[in-house]
Symmetry: none
Subunit: 294 residues, 2 copies
DNA sequence: CAGGTTCTGAAATTTCTGATACAGCTTTTC
DNA sequence: GAAAAGCTGTATCAGAAATTTCAGAACCTG
């Protein structure tokens, strides 16, 4: 499952060899029925091809076998192959409106930052769009229950986010801690996690087995697991009560955690607001201590 | 065409009640498995639903019958019906150019999350606008100098960002470490920081004196200090060679670090790209170790 | 903690789709 | 104008996909 570690070799950004283009070029060499199929496909590209063979054939006014011959001729192993290609092309096209809109910029370094920012902003929008309000609210409610203990944890990179969350929640409310991902560090602590506990896990692709193990153990003992992950969902999702996915793809060899941070900060804000009566004195107390000690 | 929206309500009358929207609203009433299905669909909307039932079930981590129950519950006659609806919706959306620009429904849902995200996005834009490209480039060049040692540090909250940066740079290049903000923890290490060293400090409002002290000491010993801070500039700015400010105000009792994260990730991306020849083998080696150990 | 309800997945069942063989028709070629 | 070659559709099949059944598991509820 461990897909190659990095997305190092980036495909040339310029020309996506669309299937539509190829069909236009080869149009001459098609037989009459193939032409009818091609015309139908091009006129409603690519949606016409997403129906069944029979539907496509009827709409094109030809027979099913002719449709099959058509897609075979295009080099696909079969109709499902053909459809899969169409879907992937469509998805790629729909998901990267930013890539094309990359505006011309001034110097050399600016594009890097500007386009990176653009991609991240796109991620944030997509993340928000795909979060169910009810789910978000449910998590807020859960984290606002001051009787529960909350444990934050995360992987190699996302561990930092877990710490970030913990450092805020720790001030807003009590019973908050951070658990290192390495099993050796939590084996003795996890036994105390039970029905009243909440585990908030951060885990994105190249999902880390130790984090999964921690959550599974916790879940088995009755804890409520909240997962912040990528759209492909960490395996932790199987034991999680609540899942908040964030988009993470950026023009980089690394994934972006901005969406996760956004969710984290939004949760902190919401919980702080909801617990304000108790949070305010706590925050003031922390502030007082800081001033005294320095 | 009934245009009931003659009033000043912001809700645009055109919005087709997207299936995604409905799913978000009904999310609460779903059973656990149905939620899994809903999450998968929303996170990859609508492409996740265009595969086969079996594929969808596997990816969602549930069984095929559960998927069927899910689509039935949404009011479709069966899976093919459901897919047909998705295709039609997709087609309609793709054909209207503006439709996909911002389908965020701020009708009722999660004003908390949506408006928070909007503020954060505003911060990111403002941050990028106010960064001098030359300054950004200079920092990239500095961090790409593999002969230098790089030390990351930060305060209460920003310390997590410093860790995040460190965990990435550590893989891209050598001579990278993280220094805790508390003086007791760095007193003995800082004496080794000298002319060839770079200190990257994260510090925003309620600037932390210990972090400032660390940077001042380092600067005094000839180290180059890079500062990521807020627009009001941490006192560290006085000893810093490069300063990258990020906007941090959000509708919350807390400041948002999203701008700092953006800068961090952009730096990681740029340095990784510049050091690619040496970074790639390092990343591959790390990947190999992970696989062996697990 | 029993009894009832809801939820879930393995397996059996049904439906439907994509694929193929083959024969008729059309076009080409000499 | 006849034979060959190419194209197309009908009929049929194999296999995959969706659906239903059913029993067990999980979860309430009193």
């Amino acid at each position: 499952m461990n897909q190659s570690g990095m997305r190092g070799d980036r495909r040339s950004p310029k020309d996506p060899p669309s299937l539509a283009e190829r069909i236009r070029l080869e149009m001459e060499s098609f037989t009459p029925s193939e032409k009818r199929a091609a015309h139908l496909l091009l006129s409603h590209y690519p949606f016409a091809g997403l129906d069944t063979v029979a539907e496509f054939a009827t709409r094109a006014g030809i027979s099913a076998p002719s449709v099959l011959r058509f897609v075979t001729r295009l080099g696909f192993g079969g109709f499902p192959d053909f459809q899969k290609h169409l879907r992937e092309e469509l998805e790629a096209q729909l998901l990267s409106p930013l890539a094309k809109a990359s505006p011309s910029d001034k110097s050399q370094g600016a594009p890097a930052l500007a386009s990176f920012a653009e991609a991240v902003i796109g991620n944030l929008k997509a993340t928000v769009d795909n979060i169910a309000p009810a789910e978000f609210d449910a998590v807020v409610t859960l984290l606002s229950d001051s009787r529960r203990h909350i444990h934050f944890t995360g992987g190699r990179f996302t561990g930092a986010l877990a710490r970030y969350a913990e450092s805020h929640f720790r001030i807003v409310r009590s019973h908050v801690d951070f658990i290192e991902g390495q099993p050796a560090l939590w084996r003795d602590r996890v036994i105390e996690i039970g029905r009243k506990d909440v585990v908030v896990a951060f885990d994105i692709r190249r999902y880390q087995e130790d984090v999964t193990a921690l959550c599974e153990t916790a879940a088995k003992q009755g804890a409520t697991v909240v997962l912040l992950t990528d759209p492909w969902l960490s395996p932790i999702a199987r034991v999680a009560r609540h899942v908040l996915p964030a988009h993470i793809i950026a023009p980089s060899n690394w994934d972006s955690s901005a969406g996760l941070l956004l969710l984290t900060e939004a949760l902190v804000a919401a919980v702080t607001k909801r617990l304000w009566d108790t949070a305010k004195p706590r925050m003031e107390a922390v502030e007082r201590l800081r001033n005294e000690n320095s």
